[in-house]
């Protein structure tokens, strides 16, 4: 009595296919048929090894999907680190900016720097005598005008 199974392969046909499979003689269609036969859950115990084999290969055949997420995560971590280094460097640079240049020569002695700074400030405050300078200029202008008037009579 032939046992009809849903894939229309009998047990004897399946056995033959399994034997051909082990000999490496099965075609793609035959392997497909065999896989389909072995995917049934109601098969006898003697088919368990073959079911395991085909199940293993099926697992292996799962497509490995490339995930971009880890790459982006690592890129973000690298960006954070770079930004931190940049900020630290900037902060240190800013903090070390107390200096003076005198005739092109860099001075880092703080007391010298401060005395030069105060000297420049005293130029601004000490020279706040624009009235006096303005008057001097007016006097000079008047003197020149008087001298020129001497020649205007000719």
């Amino acid at each position: 009595m032939k046992i009809r199974i849903k894939n229309k392969i009998t047990f004897s046909e399946a056995d033959k296919l399994i034997e051909r499979y082990y000999d490496g003689l099965t075609s793609a269609d035959e392997e497909k048929q065999l896989r389909s036969f072995l995917s049934q859950s109601t098969l006898p115990e003697r088919y368990k090894p073959e079911q395991a084999i085909f199940g293993y290969f099926d697992g292996k055949k799962k497509k490995v999907q490339f995930s971009l997420r880890p790459t982006i995560r690592w890129a973000s971590v690298a960006a954070v680190i770079l930004a931190s280094v940049f900020i630290a460097k900037l902060y240190l640079t800013e903090k070390q900016s107390d200096y003076a240049f005198i005739d092109g020569k860099k001075i880092t002695n703080m007391s010298e720097i401060k005395s030069q700074a105060l000297a420049s400030l005293s130029d601004i405050s000490a020279k706040n005598n624009e009235v006096e300078d303005g008057l001097k200029n007016v006097n000079n202008d008047e003197l020149i005008k008087k001298q020129l008037d001497v020649f205007s009579g000719f």
Binding site: A117, I124, K127
Partner: protein, 150 residues
């Protein structure tokens, strides 16, 4: 996707937060003066940050003293003519049609008040003084303090 955004937002926020505070005077034309003349012969350039200087509380103090260089004075005046746009001219002294003292109160940069002080004298020698100040104190108070101290 949410976690990726979290990773990227932090460095971006820090960078954008820090960048305006970096060199608040770099938007001014007078920064060119410091760059051009700062390390030349006959020039004294000073830069101090967050220093208590003889009672003055400056966040940034930059000064330039140039001797015997009339062309530098012309260049500084040109720079100041651009920087004074939007600024308050606290004082100007003109001699023979040429500004020899200019004090500018610039627009605030964040919390900082900013001042530019320019002075040119011809006697006893040709001397140019250019000062840029940033302070958390009101610039009028700073100016009064500077002019008061002699």
């Amino acid at each position: 996707m949410k976690s990726i955004k979290q990773y990227l937002i932090l460095p971006l926020m820090v960078l954008f937060g820090i960048s305006p505070a970096i060199k608040a005077q770099s938007d001014l034309q007078i920064s060119k003066v410091f760059d051009l003349y700062g390390e030349k012969k006959g020039v004294v350039m000073v830069e101090l940050t967050d220093e208590m200087l003889d009672g003055y509380d400056f966040s940034l103090f930059k000064s330039l003293t140039i001797l015997n260089n009339p062309s530098a004075a012309d260049f500084i005046r040109k720079c100041l003519s651009k920087d004074e746009v939007g600024a308050k001219k606290v004082k100007q002294v003109v001699a023979n049609g040429i500004p020899t003292s200019i004090y500018l109160q610039l627009a605030r940069k964040g919390e900082l008040y900013r001042l530019i002080l320019f002075n040119e004298t011809l006697r006893p020698e040709h001397k140019i003084t250019l000062i840029y100040i940033e302070s958390k104190n009101d610039s009028e108070d700073v100016l009064k303090l500077i002019l008061k101290k002699k």
